[in-house]
């Protein structure tokens, strides 16, 4: 990467002035000011929904600001599309990867580049190999992208962007998919790139990352800039207060208590997925009443299959699943639910809710046949209304009414609808997948508190999360899922982030005692 000698390092390279962006019903960016200096790593810190990604998307030409302007090297920049941004030297890696899974690494890299119509991959291959060698990344340029691990896919995304020769790289939550060691590796390389002259804007909500990596940080809260500070001058606590607007409890309250009988017992299940990725290959675990078993792992290692197997959406080819005394290995979902199993799926919009239905309809989804809500197949509307009003009050769901269309609610309220529905049957097992993904801190705290309450009530909780802080905060025992197996279980006090990370990456295999 060449440094341009036009402006000396340290000068403002990219500036946003009073940028405002309004979406229906929400001001995503409210007169936001940002100045990024050449050759620095600048973090955009804020909770989910604070407007970080919207701001970055404006800098990358995805959205046009309703008001305000963007300056590049002091010149106003009028972006109509990402193409314009790329030509101006600004590249962005989104949180949701923008890859074409059936195509090779090289093909993904050359999309949108080069002037010649005849497809020549040799130049791309040369640069790709050079790049991977420079930064010690081992990926086969001819591998099909869909078959790479998420960590590898992220490297493809980053190189894809650098291939355009950009001087400013925007990364949106790049560490969400990585193991702790993967994060260290990424940060090492990002520092190396910065030292070579690249300007990096990194979006995150993780304080630790801001402290570890950035030179300066701009904190956003509810669409407004709270301030920009030198990272060296602040501590995590200060940043947390800026981000949330109040002091934050970094630790959830969780009293010690005794566990009960085994509620969920999974013995050596195998479940092949269609794509071959994320299959279960002999997974065993058990969860007792009154405990939270946290499952850590990089996504794609079998979490979805495990969730589906437990709730009965897919059935293992081999092995058994028992809930209390019942064998539910081959039971369909509604039979599994009758055993007292509540489930909160990882993708709440696709799997947990009917977004076009009303809040009250979603609150009884799956229970529509229960005697309480229907007689002779006709819905009992009075009872449903009563139940909905109760749930809305009890779970603090913010909605104008129970008849409101679900799609108009925020992520936190969507999750509360699912929790209210699932916990209403007084379950004895709760399986939750990524329960706080995309939620702001207040909603996350609420969800976590609820899970701890259920545990204290004697419920068995199976928690799958890619957020290791959450796993450590909530779990009574921590298991690591890797390549469809669980070969490591430990109590949080007896292990560490680093150790968990090694198992998540599959670096240590089966050294820990199986449960």
């Amino acid at each position: 990467m060449d440094t341009t000698p036009v402006t000396a390092p340290g000068n403002d390279i990219l500036v946003a002035e009073e940028v405002t962006k309004v979406f229906p019903g929400v001001i995503a960016n409210d007169a936001v000011n940002l100045n990024v200096r050449r050759g620095e790593i600048h973090c955009l810190l804020g909770e989910n929904g604070a407007g970080k990604t919207t701001l970055a998307d404006i800098l990358y030409g995805v959205y046009r600001p309703d008001d305000g302007r963007v300056l590049l090297n002091g010149e106003p920049l009028d972006l109509h599309s990402p193409r314009d941004a790329i030509e101006a030297g600004i590249g962005m890696v989104h949180q949701h990867f923008e890859l074409v899974p059936p195509m090779s690494v090289i093909e993904n890299v050359v999309i949108g580049t080069g002037a010649k119509q005849w497809l020549d991959l040799s130049e791309a291959r040369r640069r790709l190999e050079e790049f991977f060698a420079d930064y010690d990344v081992e990926i086969d340029p001819d591998a099909e992208v869909g078959r790479l691990s998420v960590g590898e896919q992220q490297w493809v995304e980053i190189f894809k962007t650098l291939y355009f020769g950009v001087e400013i790289l925007i990364l949106d939550e790049p560490t969400a998919v990585l193991t702790p060691q993967g994060v260290d590796e990424l940060f090492r390389i990002l520092r190396q790139m910065r030292d070579e002259g690249l300007t990096i804007i990194l979006i995150t909500h993780k304080l630790r990352e801001v402290i570890a990596l950035s030179d300066r940080v701009t904190v956003l809260r509810r669409g407004e800039v709270v301030g920009t500070v030198n990272t060296a001058d602040v501590e995590q606590r200060d940043l947390a207060r800026m981000m949330v607007g109040r002091d934050v409890l970094m630790q959830a309250d969780k009293a010690q208590h005794d566990t009960g009988e085994v509620v969920l017992k999974i013995d050596d299940i195998h479940l092949a997925s269609d794509t071959g990725r994320g299959s279960l290959k002999g997974l065993s675990l058990d969860v007792r009443g009154g405990e939270i078993l946290g499952i850590a792992g990089v996504s794609g290692n079998g979490q979805n299959a495990l969730f589906d197997a437990v709730v009965g959406v897919r059935h293992p080819e081999q092995g058994t699943i028992r809930i209390a005394d019942a064998d539910t290995t081959h039971a369909p979902p509604h039979k599994v639910a009758l055993q007292g199993v509540a489930s909160v799926p990882g993708d709440r919009i696709a799997q947990g809710l009917m977004m076009d239905f009303s809040v009250k309809e979603n609150l009884i989804l799956g229970n529509q046949r229960a005697r309480r809500f229907a007689r002779a197949g006709v819905l009992n509307r009075a009872e449903i209304d009563r139940f909905a009003d109760e749930s809305i009050e009890h779970f603090e769901i913010k909605t104008p009414s129970a008849s409101q269309t679900t799609s108009t609610l925020s992520g936190g309220n969507l999750q509360k609808i699912i929790m209210a529905r699932e916990l209403s049957g007084e379950p004895r097992l709760i399986i939750v997948h990524q329960p706080t993904r995309g939620l702001d801190i207040a909603a996350s705290e609420y969800v976590r508190r609820r899970l701890i309450e259920e545990r204290d009530r004697g419920v068995a909780v199976l928690l799958m999360s890619e957020d290791l802080d959450e796993i450590f905060q909530l779990s009574d025992r921590i298991a690591v899922i890797y390549d469809g197996r669980i070969d490591y279980v430990a109590e949080p006090e007896a292990t560490s982030l680093e150790e968990i990370g090694l198992y998540m990456a599959g670096v240590v295999e089966a050294a820990g005692a199986a449960p």
Partner: protein, 315 residues
């Protein structure tokens, strides 16, 4: 039954196979390009009918079959353009748009035909002189093979040449790579600054042109006239062939020949009055397509975003 297996009957079946495969192959390779861009054009049947008609109309009015082909291409392009407007710009549900245009194509061609040629009362159907077959020097002298492959219509040679050309276009050019990328993940392309709408227009209009030419093969090379059900389901078969071929040009060629062979055999069985249920052979293309779908399930090359409209900023 023994009469059926004579040299001349079997040779006849193979010659007919290639003829029958021609419009299927032209329409299917065009549809392959359209679908590669993520747009399923279900209106092939109607588009082929329009092409058959506009081709015939121009040929009949000008007396030039070659201008007729241009007319067919223009007719197909017009329907392709409509499809592109509805799907790439307005982002209507592709199945609905395709079915609607299909009806428009079928009904429109018939209406237009009636308003031009039907003066009321029984009139003799107008005809044009058909394209002659073109024998390739030397190659056509090869026994059997020559007759089957090298004494065919211009459009047949064109159809076969388009198979490798389509492959090269899709897999060896930048534009083809970008087209396929759009079909798999339009958002990724948008974020890379690859224009989606213009490419989808190109692909769908091209598919329309090819369907139009496929239709013209029937009116200008085969029948020498136009009648409303001239396409007789070939548009639907072409759609099935794209699926059968698992979105690969080479297998689309195989599929076209196979389906052509089944049809030729079926016709021959009927003509020879062989006591075999020809309906079975008529149904076979669709049974084979379903079998191919099941067989290819785990390595399907279907464009991942096929039929899904792309809206920027919907994540």
């Amino acid at each position: 039954m023994e009469d059926f297996f004579t040299y001349s009957v079997i040779l006849g079946i193979f010659v007919a196979t290639v003829k029958i495969a021609t419009p299927l192959l032209i329409a299917a390779t065009g549809e392959l390009v359209a679908e590669s861009s993520g747009i399923l054009n279900l209106s092939l049947e109607g588009t082929m009918t329009i092409g058959a008609f506009t081709g015939f109309l121009v040929a009949n009015e000008t007396g030039s079959l070659w201008l007729g082909l241009l007319g067919a291409a223009a007719g197909g392009a017009a329907l392709g353009l409509l499809m592109a407007v509805m799907t790439a710009t307005v982002k209507v549900n592709q199945v609905v748009a395709g079915l609607a245009l299909n009806i428009l194509g079928l009904g429109g061609a018939f209406f237009w035909y009636r308003s031009v040629y039907d003066e009321g009362g029984a009139v003799a159907l107008p005809t044009v002189d058909r394209f002659e077959t073109v024998a390739v020097p030397l190659l056509s002298e090869i026994p059997a093979l020559g007759e089957v492959f090298f004494d065919q219509h211009w459009l047949t040679y064109f159809a076969v040449v388009m198979v490798p050309l389509t492959f090269v276009f899709l897999y060896r050019t930048k534009y083809g790579l970008e087209l396929r990328s759009i079909g798999h993940n339009p958002e990724a392309c948008d974020m890379r600054g690859v224009g989606i709408i213009s490419r989808q227009y190109t692909a769908v209009i091209y598919g329309g042109v090819m369907a139009g030419l496929g239709g013209a093969f029937l009116s200008l090379s085969e029948a020498g006239q136009f009648f409303p059900d001239i396409i007789a389901g070939r548009g639907w078969i072409a759609l099935a062939i794209v699926i059968f071929g698992n979105w690969r040009a080479s297998w689309i060629l195989v599929g076209s020949l196979l389906f052509g062979f089944l049809e030729a055999t079926q016709l021959s069985l009927q003509a020879q009055d062989v006591n075999l249920p020809y309906q079975l052979l008529l149904a076979l293309p669709f049974i084979l397509t379903i079998a191919a779908l099941v067989f290819n399930r785990s390595r399907s090359r279907v464009p991942l975003a096929l039929t899904i409209p792309y809206h920027r900023g919907e994540r």
